[in-house]
Symmetry: C2
Subunit: 577 residues, 2 copies
């Protein structure tokens, strides 16, 4: 058996890039990308990617070089997911909601050789490049080549740097020989974490991991042939949860829109007969905005923070078929998906919503997922109650964090990757996330899942949004502190009322000791609550003895009790994906 060696015919390195030549061969005449009046077929997309790859080589881009991009969901962004790795390079998509300092930090840390910038982000990119150049005055400046991406439908003429995307595509050679992938462990993309809890970390995916994730996510979501996929989830977010590559695997249509506004989304759904879209739960509000009706069901894959059951219920009523997943950048996007069981179809809508809000079962590319006691690494009981850390293992887990040995050592333990998320396993094997491990509140030795308290707050008839964090306490160590947003027109949402409401619904030790009414809950570009910001605010509200000694001056003393008093509330905007 062992004498049979690998040959080029029976051992081909796994890579999601390979889906594109196949799409060219078998779906060549079918639409690949639609953006405004711009339309490409799979043959055209393949040729354009080959051209761009050859231009990158001509610019001197080589194996393992990082090519960064700052762009919304436009055709160029899609094409770069293939063209950059086809040149042997590593694609680094940057969150467009970051500030110039953060963008500069990523360009510096990744040592990007080339930086593509959509015309809309020229200002942000210029500022970032200035910071980068200034920081390097000691001779260590590494400033990348810059190429602008003009609008493909309506060119603006805006320019930055010496290069322009369409020109690079045009001058490329579709027949040029491209480097051959020899090792499927090679890096394909580099995605920086959003850094809600710590400094951004550079997550490196291998070709192998990206290929396997793409296959298993298509399978977990049940994406058949000829999907029409609307790009609401940013491609910069874990490479669009791998569906950038997945659409090539399935010969689907990529419907690109620059902004995920309610009008644009609903117009695209009806005009192109969209069948699938992904989004963070925060986009559900946009989907429900206005009086739109769906001609056919639209499948929605959602992840991030679990949406409240009531919200899921409303979205389903509107005709969206929601699959709930759980993932993280380090697991190439979704790692668990709530696979639907036919028998659940017969349950009332509220029960269905509650089952759907669970994160589910491991995708097929994972070898295993479990919930463990982080100290002993023993599995918790499958009772839906015993809380532990969600741990993962399998070929869709990242290669590791770039140049960050410490983070790698902290995140990998033996056979497992530690997610830092806290959850339970239900008797049927479905995992439900309870919290980020950092978000667990330890009060008098009892663990309180902030998520559990939040679920109760969402049941309050006057509350539109809510988040709960730990507040230092001299006696209990920590106690819950709630931040809530009142619904438009809801009167009487105040601390006493909310505390009274919670007392009726949760154990006494879980009731927030403090309730702050905000205009908006601060969220980052991916819709995640910025709990670090809230923790800082809560810390200032804590009973004096519990405030750490070095923080003697409590700057904001007027906060709490009434709506809109917190200055932070006014500078935050609800981020759209």
């Amino acid at each position: 058996m062992d004498k049979l060696q690998k040959r080029p015919a029976n051992y081909v390195p796994l890579s999601p890039i390979g889906f594109l030549p196949r799409a060219n061969a078998v779906y060549g005449d079918r639409p690949s990308v639609i953006y405004g009046r711009v339309r490409f077929t799979w043959s055209q997309t393949y040729a354009r990617c080959r051209r761009l790859a050859s231009s990158l080589l001509a610019l001197g881009i080589r194996h393992n070089d990082v090519v960064s991009v700052l762009a919304p969901n436009v055709p160029a962004m899609y094409e770069m997911h293939f063209a950059v790795p086809m040149a042997g390079a590593v694609l680094n998509t940057i969150n467009t909601r970051l500030d110039a300092k953060a963008v500069a930090g990523i360009l510096r840390h990744s040592e990007a050789k080339l930086f593509f910038v959509d015309y809309q982000y020229v200002r942000l990119a210029s500022d970032a490049l200035q910071i980068l150049a200034a920081a390097g005055e000691g001779g260590r400046a590494h400033v990348p080549l810059v190429a602008v991406i003009d609008d493909a439908d309506t060119p603006t003429g805006v320019r930055l740097g010496e290069l322009e995307y369409e020109a690079l595509v045009s001058r490329g050679d579709a027949c040029a020989e491209l480097p051959r992938l020899d090792d499927e462990w090679d890096a394909v993309t580099l995605n920086y974490t959003s850094g809600t809890t710590s400094a951004p970390k550079g997550v490196v995916y291998s070709h192998r991991g990206a290929y396997l994730s793409t296959m298993s996510l298509l399978m977990s979501w049940g994406v058949g042939n000829e999907p029409v996929y609307l790009w609401t989830l940013p491609m910069f977010h874990c490479n669009g949860w791998t569906f950038t590559w997945g659409m090539a695997a399935r010969g689907g249509v990529n419907v690109c829109i620059r902004d995920a506004r309610a009008d644009d989304i609903h117009r695209a759904i009806s005009r192109h007969a969209v069948t699938h879209l992904c989004c963070a739960p925060v986009v559900f509000n946009i989907l429900l905005d206005g009086n739109h009706s769906l001609a056919a069901p639209v499948h929605v894959l959602t992840g991030g923070a679990p949406p409240p059951a009531a919200m899921l219920e409303r979205v389903e009523r509107a005709g969206f078929r929601v699959t709930h997943a759980y993932g993280l950048t380090e697991a190439t996007g979704p790692a668990l998906a709530c696979e639907w069981r036919e028998q659940w179809d017969r349950l009332p809508l509220t029960d269905r919503a509650s089952l759907k809000s669970r994160q589910g079962v491991s995708v097929l590319s994972l070898a295993d997922a479990d919930v463990k006691d982080a100290r002993t690494m023993a599995s918790v009981a499958r009772d839906g109650k015993s809380v532990g850390e969600i741990v993962l293992r399998g070929s869709s887990i990242m290669k590791g964090y770039l140049n960050n040995d410490r983070a790698n050592e902290e995140s990998f333990r033996g056979e497992w990757f530690l997610t830092g998320d806290v959850g339970v396993v239900h008797p049927d094997g479905y995992i439900e996330i309870k919290d980020r491990s950092k978000d667990v509140i330890i009060s008098g030795g009892e663990n309180i899942c902030s998520k559990e308290v939040e679920e109760v707050l969402f049941q309050h008839p006057g509350i539109a949004d809510a988040a709960v964090v730990a507040m230092p306490h001299p006696h209990w160590g920590e106690t819950p502190c709630a931040f809530v947003v009142a619904k438009d027109g809801a009167a009487g949402v105040c601390e006493d009322d909310v505390i009274a409401f919670c007392r009726k619904h949760v154990s006494r030790f879980m009731v927030p000791k403090k309730v702050v009414v905000y205009d908006v809950i601060p969220r980052n570009g991916n819709g995640k609550v910025e709990k670090n910001v809230l923790r800082a605010a809560a810390s200032k509200l804590a009973p004096p003895a519990a405030v750490p000694a070095q923080k003697t001056k409590v700057k904001t003393t007027t906060v709490g009790g009434r709506r809109g008093e917190h200055p932070v509330a006014h500078v935050m905007a609800i981020s759209r994906l």
Copy 2:
């Protein structure tokens, strides 16, 4: 990028065996296997497989040892697809339609250490073991341990050898430590080709290849969650086209039946609400047998010889949704699948059947599929006419033939695996098989696809079955010779009539020079026409000058013209899968 090394948490060898612990974890309480009154859940199947694997280890079975099995589609056969590789061994499933000499040949060539025999095949196995022992009298006999598999629903008490399947399961330890898979390139199964054109060859699959094939076949066929899969296709045939493992990946139900008889099939479909089944086209006759109606559509994946369009049409009318695939043992079963395009739904049924009879596009685990001129290795034009050899490349291609360097050298050329099948590429990229390369008839320098002539014969109103092979010819080199079976009650199907019919429908050089009316066309256990048998018969009918010198005596001179005169016709039976 390259500093990030593989870790146990992010690099897990790919193996279809891994689908079973996952099924245990996430589908544990759901049915896995149904056979008569026998029912198992995924948790039970997992425990049973672990027990059996531990018993195999206790018997001394080690890494790379071959465990052979001769059994129909019963639960034990299913379990061994996991348990044998879980013990580090290689599963060799033997075609139950082979004769004792062929079975002995496989046991000898594979050096099987352990041989499981279903009670129904005890006689065949005994004969094979005797041949094996006799051949080894010179001291080189290698006779495996033997274990009988009694019927799981209704035990018979029939025994062979010292071991019994259920006893091995019972005495096994579900908690015993099993060997760990270190290299995904390790062998998982060994399948012998049917040998219609040459001696059987032992095809070795790797864990990696089997995993990737399983994933991509589930995807190509669009198998969702909770399928109810009826085992009509023998599991010994390319491991049931990987759906043995695929059902564990999808948490499906394996409905096992001992015989693929019309009654059993239709009873199982209605009793268990079957959603999916695979079969050779020859089983279509069984599906259409009797007056059964389907409560819901049943998805059928078919492969092997392309079924005539008329047959496909009737099966679709009966409520079966047919997907047509093309594959071969060396490609882990289906390598091309006719992915359906929504736009084709609007075509008339006959056009749809004609599109469906094409073999289609490469499955996702293949890196590439092409049709090439076998001499120059240049791709043929995508015009639906230019004929060439179908070549494949990708990680689902076998590791190679066991102990057969010559066959390996002949089958692998550079980057490609040569299938020996002849086909065309249509302008839409879909490949259509025209013939086995050995079945192409070269007449006066012109290639004739026997399949093309066969399609015409099937259009004849009085013809039920047909096959065309090359007949030596003194002037043209070869000419087509047709073997046809008249429909029940069809009168006047004779050589002149058939030749006249062909003249109206194909070019003159393609018209058979000889037509023989048979009772049945000889087919092997997998439903494939035994063209070597027909070629031998045709050779005897050839004009004298063309008959090779050593074959001076033409034994059968009365053949042809009238039905039932050929002695071979009476000893052949249409084989059921």
